[in-house]
């Protein structure tokens, strides 16, 4: 087996293991905490009978290990359980919301990734001069500003004062693509701003790192043209770190989505999770937590695998 394939398979297996461990953690986080889950859900005034009924329904009388495996096998077969608050099938309710969230994240990524790489390159080209300083200043600002401030500023000026975009991002299946894009313009804008800072700074660091390496200097001293240096020497080595940067920030986007969806009342996964945390609807929270964790782990996994595949040193085994 070639070393690359072996590394990739190892990394995939590790990812599956990590996801499994994460599912245990999510389960433990919601079920084996101090206090009784049933009374936490129903509150102080619950009658003994109601508590007993809920315990039976949640299967709380079974030992935790049994409950975990019941839950896990259900999840593996696509059965995420039934919501406690409205008795609806979670997988069904979630599929619409997941596709809405992915729609939002997709457009944010499509805009943010090329823009961040471009601005990162500009910062490298003019290192230490004013474009570079603007980039690092913007990075400091976006790291420190909470997502909801960006959201409400955008809403206040672009939706309320100037009425360019709608303030509430409501989409449904019957809308055309253009209408949908108009509806999600503000949340996409905010998400782009949220990830842009990190992505620019990390791209800049990754490319600077490559440009300052010994082999680029050697290539310069050999008298190669700068285009050849970038294309043949710098670019192949910069792919892995840049893809890594992109994937880490896409994973970050998945979390940023939670707040942005709440700000713009967007019918996606984040809003779904937050609503059901407040209702203490544990099956929904577990399912959402697992989906978010899976996406997050998956994106990090892709980042690792791409850096393995793109590493020129692994292509020529000793």
């Amino acid at each position: 087996m070639s070393p690359i394939l072996k590394l990739v398979v190892q990394r995939l297996a590790l990812g599956v293991l990590l996801l499994l461990a994460a599912s245990v953690l999510i389960f433990v986080g919601t079920e084996i905490l101090p206090g009784d889950v049933a009374s936490a859900i129903l509150g102080q005034g619950a009658t003994e009978q109601a508590l007993a009924n809920l315990r039976i329904e949640l299967g709380l009388n079974d030992p935790p290990v049994t409950r975990y495996f019941n839950w896990l096998f259900g999840v593996l077969q696509g059965d995420l359980g039934v919501s406690l608050s409205n008795r609806r099938d979670i997988a069904e309710a979630m599929s619409v919301r997941l596709s809405n969230t992915l729609f939002l994240a997709f457009w944010a990524a499509i805009i943010a990734v090329p823009l961040a790489i471009l601005l990162g390159l500009v910062a490298v080209r003019y290192e230490g001069r004013w474009p570079d300083k603007v980039v690092s200043g913007a990075t400091l600002a976006t790291i420190s500003i909470p997502e909801f401030l960006l959201g409400y500023i955008a809403m206040y000026f672009l939706a309320v004062q100037y009425r360019i975009f709608p303030s509430v991002a409501n989409i449904n299946a019957s809308m055309s693509l253009g209408d949908k894009l108009n509806a999600i313009a503000l949340p996409v804008l905010v998400l782009v701003l949220v990830v842009l800072g990190h992505m620019m700074r990390m791209t800049r660091a990754a490319i600077l790192n490559v440009m300052q390496s010994a082999y680029v200097e050697t290539a310069e001293l050999k008298g190669l043209r700068s285009f050849t240096i970038i294309w043949r020497h710098a670019f192949p080595n910069a792919i892995a770190p840049v893809v890594n940067v992109v994937m880490i920030n896409l994973a970050y986007l998945v979390v940023g989505v939670v707040v942005v969806e709440v700000v713009f009342v967007y019918p996606g996964m984040g809003q779904y999770l937050v609503d059901h945390v407040a209702k203490r609807d544990i099956p929904v929270v577990q399912a959402c937590g697992l989906v978010f964790a899976a996406v997050y782990i998956g994106l990090n996994l892709v980042a690792d695998i791409v850096s393995i595949l793109a590493n020129p040193r692994l292509r020529h085994p000793k």
Partner: protein
């Protein structure tokens, strides 16, 4: 070395917010939950920032809100530092399976985004200030753990640690008397960043309605209370959000300065 302007600005605002939080009871013009005007009254001489969604003085809410937000964030940062650094040093000093077990567990905790995991846990826990501090502190200690372990691994191979070992000192002595003083400066610089993270984290949770519970004021909660006003062109919700951003940027500027200062003392980068 003179203090750069950016650090001075940062220090000024950080101090301002902290002093306002500490002396909230003396400087707040009205009571925290006292209804003193109409709904969303504009800025006036009586109400410097106007009133909020049920007619409370917004400046008063902001001062008390800052108190809660800064208190929770400070406590969570202290917890994450004590927990993370002690465990990180322990992992580096003892090594072997203790290090493996702790490091793999931290990897696992970090494989789930903190906000998501916090939401999962808060869905069953009673949402009190103590629980919030514990959840935030424990989740954030993973990052402190990684940093302090990495720093301590470099220190444990030093001759003076070896000398202490040969002298027969125990692990507790080595952790607190040999490693801690030498690992302090990178940890202090990191503390600023963790504090900002804690401020943003608690504000986000409160904004989502799952953090500090009303009638207690906190900045994220004030954003939440006043957010409906935005649609009618009332910017009350922007005030606390703006306070969060300025506090975060100020602490960042100070932390940057501390970082360059401590590294330059050792002859490192910065000058």
């Amino acid at each position: 070395m003179r203090m750069p302007l950016s650090a001075m600005i940062g220090l000024f605002f950080t101090a301002l917010y902290f002093l306002a939080a500490i002396f909230a009871d003396f400087i707040a013009p009205y009571g925290m939950a006292e209804i003193v005007g109409g709904v969303w009254d504009p800025i006036s001489r009586e109400h410097w920032l106007g009133t909020d969604n049920i007619g409370r003085d917004l400046l008063t809410r902001m001062i008390y809100g800052g108190q809660t937000t800064i208190f929770v964030a400070t406590m969570a940062t202290l917890l994450s530092f004590s927990l993370g650094s002690v465990l990180g040093f322990t992992a580096a000093v003892i090594g072997g399976w203790v290090d493996q077990a702790l490091s793999r567990f931290v990897d696992l905790l970090m494989s789930i985004p903190s906000l998501i995991f916090a939401l999962v846990v808060l869905s069953v826990m009673p949402v009190t200030v103590l629980v919030l501090v514990l959840v935030m502190g424990i989740l954030d200690s993973t990052r402190v753990f990684r940093l302090s372990r990495a720093v301590a691994v470099d220190i444990t191979v030093m001759d003076y640690v070896e000398a202490a070992r040969l002298r027969g000192e125990g692990n507790v002595w080595i952790i607190f008397r040999e490693i801690l003083p030498n690992a302090l400066s990178p940890l202090v610089a990191e503390m600023g960043l963790r504090f900002i993270f804690a401020i943003l984290f608690i504000s986000t949770l409160s904004f989502l309605g799952l953090g500090v519970q009303p009638p207690l004021a906190d900045w994220g909660g004030i954003v939440r209370e006043n957010r409906e006003g935005i649609v009618y062109g009332i910017p009350a919700a922007l005030v606390p959000a703006f306070a969060i951003a300025t506090l975060a940027i100020s602490v960042n500027l100070v932390a940057d300065w501390v970082l360059t200062r401590t590294t330059s003392l050792k002859g490192g980068r910065g000058g």
